[in-house]
Every structure is written in structure tokens, then in C-alpha cells.
């Protein structure tokens, strides 16, 4: 702008040595600083305004803020807990129980959704018309229906419609499904079982050594070793052998009908079952699309080149396509895992005792410490997502294409 004004003026009469100075509010640097100061001041003022309002309101409601309530007795039981918990436990204990429940359903959901998602994603690419259409129908159905609706469907329409304990569906008299949940036989470990675990550990070490040796031998001589079969035999065979030698130190505790309910065994409460089912089926549809896109992103020339080198189709998939596809798949996949973890908070709608329903729900209502409860809950989810995205960035840096 400055230069333009100079050129447009008459160079004969106007001296070039005295340029017309633009007004100070048109200077980009000054403007930038002014904008930033205004933005900061506005943010801080807004924050202060909210802070003062909150303090006044809290004083009027007679609520003392602070985290002291975490150590007082909670007085309510939780239907599912991974660590010992009773009604006399503190609110702090309740937090850990709830957090573990959230993590439990998230981790299981991630595992199931990944397995199902990869199967359906690959089915979607199948040359078989019927299979790929079925996969498409699955994806389009589950992707376009709200997750909450799916959770409600499994919980209220399916699992709440199960028969009473006396009329439960039984699977070979070992597992039972009724309105109270899914009852599974629980393993009872006898004293000698530790040796089986030791054997498993030894097998894992042997497998690592073996595969390293096989790799080195192939590098040196070109000879291949049937690694997969040997690894499978080692991993299964050695623990089984020790298991048999120590006299089968494992028994099963079967659930049995006593009175109006089943006793013994493992029970999966219907809230957990429906949440897990809905989360896995819903997320699997998204993962399937990610897997399909990832595999399609590897150009067909790679497959053709691999075939022309005489590599067979299963090895082409394993050694050529998948490593390249994973580079595309992993970042959005992690995003889905994060979404699944955040979506597990929908548990609050059906009463699965997760972090939101227990801590931001029951504890908040009992103590009235709204700000503390919500802040802790949000902080947990923020921590989880920041941690996962940090890990993802690290991984991404490792596998990213090294270009010029």
C-alpha cells in the first residue's frame, strides 16, 4: 500500500524521501498485537465474570467447594466393581471403581470392534458380490443409527425381554442367559496353576528367540523355516503339557439356580452386555470403512509387482499390502478407539456404573459438588484422549513415509 501511494503521486513535485506514512491502525503488526490483546482481555474478563458468579452462587447455595468430599463415606453400593467396594467405601474409592468400569468396557469394546471391523472391511472388498453387499448393508445400517438408540434397543428390547432366572436360556447347562444377565462358568485356579503360567512364559521367550534365529538364517541362506507352525505348537503345546503333568490344576465353578437367582460363576450384567454389544457393532462399522479405505489406498501396482516377483497372494497381503495399508489405517483407527472410549459414557442412559453415571451422576447428586465432579470427569476423559493422541503422533512419526 505504502509503495502504491508513492508511485501514484507525481515524482516530479513530491519528494520520494518523504513517504506518506499510513495511519497507525493500518499497520499489520500493530493490528495483530491489538487484536490479541483484545482477545486475551475478553477471555480473561469472561473467565473472571463466570468465576465471580459461581462463587456468589455457591455461597448462596451453602456449598463449600473443594475436594474434601472424596474421603467421606459414600453409602451406596455399585452393581459391578473390579476392586473390592462396599457401601462404607469413600467417594474416592467410588471414583476408581467407576473409572475401572469405564476402562473395562472400553478395552473390551476396542478388541471386539477391531476384530469385527477388520473382518467386515475385508469382506467389503471381497470379489464375491454377495459377501461385499452384505458387508455394505451392515456398514450402512449400523453407521446411520444413533448409538444411544442401539444401546436402548439391546437393553430394553432384547435383554430386558429375556425370561426370569427360572426360565433362562441355557447353553449346555453351563452358561445361562436371563433378565439378570449372562451367567458363565468361572475358572477356579488350583495351587499348581502357576507352573502353567511359567511354561507359557518360557514358550513366549522361546518363540522370540526362534523367530529371530529363523529370520537371521533366512537372511543368510535364503532357507525358510516353518516358523508359524512351530510357534503355534510351542505356544499351545508347552503349557498344555505342563497342565497335564501337574494334574489339571483348574476346575470350573458353574452357576447354579438357588431360589430365585443363580449363584456362582461369572455374571455379565445386562447393562454391560448391551453397552458392549452396541459399542462394538457401531464402531465396527466405522472401522470397516477405515480398513477398506486403507487397503484401497495401496495402489494396485503393488499387488501386480508382487505377483510378478512370484510372491503368492497370502504373502502379498501380509508382507506388501498390509504394512502400507496400516500406515493409512492407524491414525483414523486410533480416533475410533478414542470415540469408543468417549461413547462408553452413554452408559449413563442405561445405568451401567461407569464414570459418568456413577461419578457425574450419583456422587454429584448426593454431594452437590457439581463443579468438582464434572471437572474430575472431564479431566479423566481429556487425559485419556491427550494420552492416546500423543501415542498416535509418536507412532505416526515412526511409520511416516521418509521423503526427500
Amino acid at each position: 500500500m505504502q509503495d502504491l501511494t508513492q508511485i501514484s503521486g507525481n515524482p516530479m513535485t513530491e519528494s520520494i524521501s518523504t513517504p506518506v506514512k499510513p495511519p497507525i491502525w493500518n499497520n499489520p503488526q500493530v493490528r495483530a498485537i491489538a487484536f490479541q490483546i483484545i482477545a486475551l482481555v475478553a477471555t480473561v474478563a469472561f473467565g473472571l465474570y463466570i468465576f465471580q458468579n459461581t462463587q456468589t452462587n455457591l455461597r448462596q447455595l451453602g456449598i463449600t467447594s473443594g475436594f474434601d468430599f472424596l474421603s467421606s463415606q459414600s453409602g451406596f453400593g455399585i452393581v459391578q466393581s473390579l476392586i473390592p467396594h462396599s457401601e462404607s467405601s469413600s467417594y474416592g474409592r467410588v471414583f476408581w471403581v467407576a473409572l475401572l468400569n469405564t476402562l473395562l468396557v472400553s478395552v473390551l469394546g476396542v478388541i471386539f470392534a477391531t476384530l469385527l471391523g477388520f473382518i467386515i472391511g475385508i469382506a467389503r472388498l471381497s470379489k464375491n458380490w454377495l459377501i461385499s453387499r452384505l458387508a455394505l448393508a451392515y456398514i450402512e445400517t449400523f453407521r446411520n443409527i444413533p448409538l444411544l438408540l442401539q444401546i436402548f434397543f439391546w437393553y430394553f428390547a432384547v435383554l430386558r425381554a429375556m425370561p426370569a432366572p427360572r426360565q433362562s436360556f441355557s447353553l449346555g447347562e453351563a452358561a445361562f442367559l436371563n433378565i439378570r444377565g449372562l451367567y458363565l462358568p468361572a475358572p477356579q485356579f488350583q495351587p499348581g496353576f502357576g507352573w502353567v503360567l511359567v511354561a507359557l512364559g518360557i514358550a513366549v521367550v522361546l518363540v522370540i528367540l526362534l523367530s529371530r534365529w529363523a529370520h537371521q538364517r533366512q537372511m543368510a541362506t535364503g532357507q525358510q523355516f516353518p516358523t508359524f507352525q512351530t510357534v503355534l505348537a510351542l505356544l499351545l503345546g508347552l503349557p498344555l503339557l505342563i497342565f497335564w503333568l501337574t494334574g489339571s490344576p483348574l476346575s470350573w465353578q458353574y452357576p447354579a439356580l438357588q431360589g430365585f437367582n443363580f449363584r456362582g460363576g461369572w455374571v455379565i450384567i445386562p447393562e454391560m452386555a448391551s453397552l458392549l454389544l452396541a459399542l462394538s457393532l457401531y464402531t465396527a462399522a466405522f472401522i470397516a470403512e477405515i480398513v477398506r479405505a486403507g487397503i484401497q489406498a495401496v495402489s494396485h501396482g503393488q499387488t501386480e509387482a508382487s505377483f510378478s516377483l512370484g510372491i503368492n497372494s497370502s504373502k502379498t497381503l501380509r508382507l506388501i499390502i498390509l504394512p502400507q495399508a496400516l500406515r493409512v489405517i492407524i491414525p483414523p483407527l486410533t480416533n475410533q478407539y478414542l470415540n469408543l472410549t468417549k461413547n462408553s459414557s452413554l452408559a449413563a442412559a442405561i445405568g451401567y456404573p461407569d464414570l459418568v453415571s456413577t461419578f457425574a451422576g450419583t456422587v454429584l447428586n448426593q454431594t452437590g459438588q457439581a463443579i468438582e465432579c464434572i471437572a474430575i470427569t472431564m479431566a479423566v476423559y481429556l487425559t485419556i484422549s491427550l494420552l492416546i493422541s500423543l501415542l498416535m503422533n509418536l507412532y505416526n512419526r515412526r511409520v511416516a513415509l521418509v521423503e526427500r
Binding site: 500500500m1 502504491l4 495483530a32 487484536f35 490479541q36 490483546i37 482477545a39 486475551l40 477471555t43 463466570i50 458468579n53 459461581t54 456468589t56 452462587n57 455457591l58 448462596q60 471381497s126 470379489k127 464375491n128 458380490w129 454377495l130 459377501i131 452384505l134 450402512e140 445400517t141 453407521r143 446411520n144 443409527i145 444413533p146 448409538l147 444411544l148 438408540l149 442401539q150 436402548f152 434397543f153 430394553f156 428390547a157 430386558r160 425381554a161 468417549k342 461413547n343 459414557s345 452413554l346 449413563a348 442412559a349 459418568v356 457425574a360 454429584l364 457439581a370 463443579i371 464434572i374 470427569t377 472431564m378 476423559y381 481429556l382 484422549s385 491427550l386
Partner: protein, 369 residues
Amino acid sequence: MAEAHIPHPDLPPPVSTIGVIGWLRRNLFSSPLNIVLTILAVYLLYTALPPLLRWVLWNAHWSGDNRADCPADGGACWVFIRVHFEQFMYGFYPDDQRWRVKTALVVLILSAAPLFIRSVPGKIKMRLGLSLLAIYPVIAFVLFKGGLLGLATVETSKWGGLLLTLVIAGVGMTAALPLGVLLALGRRSQMPAIQTLCVTFIEFWRGVPLITVLFMSSVMLPLFMPAGVSFDKLLRALIGITLFQAAYMAEVVRGGLQAIPKGQIEAAAALGLGYWKTMGLIVLPQALKLVIPGIVNTFIALFKDTSLVLIIGLFDLMNIVHNATTNPDWLGFSTEGYVFTAAVYWLFCFSMSRYSHSLEKRLHTGHKR
């Protein structure tokens, strides 16, 4: 004299490679594995489809007005939906005022129709679209809420069903997109303070589940406001959903901004365009076009997420159906209720994704492989 060479006429291709048989061989029976898979899939369809069709159509009950018209004989009871249909659409909106909702819908369809006709020139579409965005919310709000022009006031707590779902989705979409664009521009800004503010905002909202946002807006927002100021429950949900989705939208738009070569900005600067003109006339039109699929995906996510307002006690489509299934007169028809709701949501989401596909195809100007 040598005879002229007459080539043998082309033989027809083998029967097994053309027509129905060829298609079957190529697509269903190309290898032993595929034969097994086809048989499995056919078996799956054979076991699943007939009972499903019997339940949904053949054995289903369509006519009647109470549950006695639905004997338990393995068929769906669509009477349940028919009886509650008006409620599912309008919630607790007063019967005699429902014409207002219908009027608003007709106005929307008539005024937005030219946007979807291809022969209408782009410039007119642009003006019509923008003025619709500015005027229609006011018309709709006046019609729904009333209290003006002799219309009886209908409190927002009476709004419900599909109406409420569409209101939340519509407001969320129209507010989240511009906010998301501003946040994305802020995140790409050269000013460190603006950038930090935007990054913090975006990462915070993306890091927490929507349900905690709704909890926060219903529990904490009253604490933040001076005593006496109370927000409408619907407004609180709207603020929560909009801020939440704006953060996601910002990330989508940022992807588009990053894909625009720097030369475009430099060329705009060389022509003497200021920041807002560069962004508004040069960068954003290209960037937004690139990320249409992402924007529509966010819209679809927003539409599905409207169902979460159930948590804070608003009666959207999902909650009103859930409520009807717990009606003592109609116990045991939750499957029908949820299937109907799923079909409605599915229809909206699926048509949005189809529309984005067609839009993407129409707008792409040859930069893609």
C-alpha cells in the same frame, strides 16, 4: 488370380463368460473359497430374511387403535406407531397449534426448493441461501414459539418428537459451521495468542464426551450465570451441542485450509486483497469444497448426537418413543418403537450421505485422480 482373403467371422464368446452365467461365475463362484462363502451367505440370508419379513410385513398388524388389535402371533404391531404417530412427530405440542409446525415445514420446502434445482444460476442460489439462513430461523422461531402476531405462546418444554430433533439439528448445523470456520482460521492464524486460544478450545471440546458437555450445560451453566438469570433447557442443550460440534467442524475445515497451496494466498496478497477478502473469496471457497464429505460427516454425527438430549430430559424423537414404550397400556412394544425410530434416523442420515456424494461429484473440477 488369388482369391480375396475373407476372414472367418468372430466366434461368439464362450457362454460361460457372458450374461447371467458369466456374471455368476465371476462374482459368486470364482474360486473354491468364494463358493463356500456364497453358500454360507445364502444360508445366512435364508435363515434371517424370511422370519424378518414375516415380522415386519406379512404377519404385522396395521389397523386398529388399541393393543387388543395386536395378538401375539409373531408379527410386528405397527398399530403402536400409528396411534402414537402424531406424538412422535410433535411431542407435547398442543393439537390445535400443530398447523404452525406444518406451515413452517411447507415454507421451508417451498423456499429452499430452488437451491436443489440445477438450472437455477449459482448467484441466485447463493443470495437465496444466505437470505434463507438469515430469515428462516426467525420465521420458524416465531411460528413455533408464538407470543407474537396473535399466536398463542408454546413453551419450548412442549416442543418434542421429530420436531425437536430437527430444531436441534438445524440450529446446531447452521451455528456450528460458521463457528467451526472461524475456529479453524484462528488455529491457522499467525497471531500466537489467537492460535493458542483456538487450539485450547478445540482440543478441550474434542477431548470430552458430549454427554459430559450436556451434564455441564445443565448442572454448571446455572452456576455460571448471575443469580436470577435462568436459561431455557433447550437453549442450554443447543449451546452445548453447537460448541461441541464446532470443535469437530474446525478440525475438518483446517484439513481443507491446509490443502490449499500457499501460492493462492500470496497471489491474493499480490492483488491487494486484505485478510478477510483473501479468506472469503479465495481460500475458503476452495477449502470448503475439498472437505464437503467431512462437513457432511460432522452433520450426520450431529444429527445422531441430538438423541443424547434425552439425558437432560428433553423429549426429542428418541425420548418420546422411549417414553411411549414405557406406557402401561402399550408395554412390550419397545422393539417396534425402536425399529421405527431407527428407520427415521437412518433415512435422514443416509440421504445426507447420498447427497454429499452427489454434491462431491458435481463440484469436483478435475483435481482428483
